[in-house]
Symmetry: C2
Subunit: 252 residues, 2 copies
């Protein structure tokens, strides 16, 4: 999917909601219900690979069926494998095959630690995306991501500036946690035209208003993920997704 | 497996060889042959998860069968899932289940970028290990891993020193690429009692003599991985594994 198509979908639906499929004891029936209920209010799905992997090959089968269901029934939805992979070149080639060929995901979340050659094989696919970890929403993000380098830049900023030289906003998005909304402004400055995938609204408590104030660009440029706040909502996934989409739409 | 048991196995077999099961078009029959041929000369196996994942759920089935085969037929061998995972706490719990419960691996390779809470759930398992990326063998390791921090330390050194506070050498090993053997000395200083998992000998060209000179400690403290150099060797896996084990034994 191109950046233009994704932006158009967001405009058409007046929604930048990404539904995180963090499905404990991974069940395709459950996922199908969540997907059918939330598709009108969302533009993207993000299965969290760990929750499937915990069930081994059976869990992976559920992941494959889930991705195939979205791709065939909701072909305009953007599908992100939240896998946070990252390995040397010949191994990265295999991970890219898993998510872009064996499954037809549009994007994979990736960890930057090992550098360019761990990312490069993913960038060779037309219409596919790398979503690189920059500043994550968890408390321990401060262990390494925010360390100050000898030139005064924090590590996460160096990650963006380096990855900006690998490929443009047509190929790379950045993960920027909603729980660090004040830093979103800096991240947006460093990547003015890139999509940001923002987790941490909902269960993790990030402020929606601040995400838009600091993270939005002229095209929108935001995908905001909600996982537990939808799949575990007492309102049910449809009402929860509609509420989030409407809340986000106020600022779009 | 405890550090003591692993060290004893290395002493008994006079080998610190880890056989990397980077099996393209993952086949259990092929793996079984490699494992049976190399078990007398090795103390550890390291299936590279990406090579299985490229085949989706069928590949994962092969990974499960491979790990189960090693655990039941060669219970004294140490099994490392080379997965390089790393995600926030509630997701890390799921990855730990995948590799330590669903499969009975002894260790998982992990990426440090997201910090302590991405590692912590793995440390709660008795007799299980985290093998943390520190300085990897790929060319792009220089993109981020070797960056100098404001206090003058390189990032990889900060990773070791921080992770040393999370758990001791009974729970954590570090990945240190053989292609950076001069830095091995520094890594060994920062982690005198930890096992180092050293890839990069063989196809990637690291020097065995330098790995031992700079990386060995009084207990040995090294697992040296060879993947392509064994599974793709024209000599066949048995002769290749024997040759590597003998070469390493000169310095043990």
């Amino acid at each position: 999917m191109t950046l233009r198509t994704l932006s158009e979908q967001i405009g058409l639906k007046h929604s930048c909601l990404c539904v995180g499929l963090d499905t404990a004891s991974a069940s395709f029936t459950f996922n199908k219900e969540v997907i059918d209920a939330t598709a009108p209010y969302s533009v993207a799905y993000k299965p969290n690979v760990a929750f499937y992997e915990a069930g081994g090959s059976e869990g992976w089968k559920c992941l494959e069926k889930t991705v195939a269901y979205i791709r065939s029934h909701y072909p305009d939805h953007f599908v992100i494998a939240d896998a946070k992979r990252g390995d040397i070149g010949n191994t990265a080639v295999q991970y890219a095959r898993a998510f872009f060929e064996h499954m037809d995901c549009h994007a994979v979340t990736m960890a930057p630690y090992m550098g360019y050659d761990s990312i490069a094989p993913f960038l060779e696919y037309e219409g596919k995306w790398v979503i690189l970890l920059v500043l994550t929403s968890n408390p321990s993000a401060c262990d390494f991501e925010t360390l100050t380098l000898s030139d005064g830049r924090p590590l996460y900023r160096k990650v963006i500036e380096t990855a900006n030289t690998w490929a443009g906003p047509q190929k790379i998005m950045y993960v920027a946690g909603a729980t660090r909304s004040l830093v979103l402004e800096e991240i947006r400055q460093a990547a003015p035209d890139h999509f940001l995938l923002v987790p941490g609204v909902g269960a993790q408590g990030g402020s929606v208003e601040e995400v838009f104030r600091y993270g939005k660009n002229s095209q929108g440029g935001l995908l905001i993920n909600v996982s537990r706040g939808i799949v575990q909502s007492p309102l049910g996934p449809e009402a929860a997704a509609r509420n989030y989409a409407q809340e986000f739409a106020k600022y779009l």
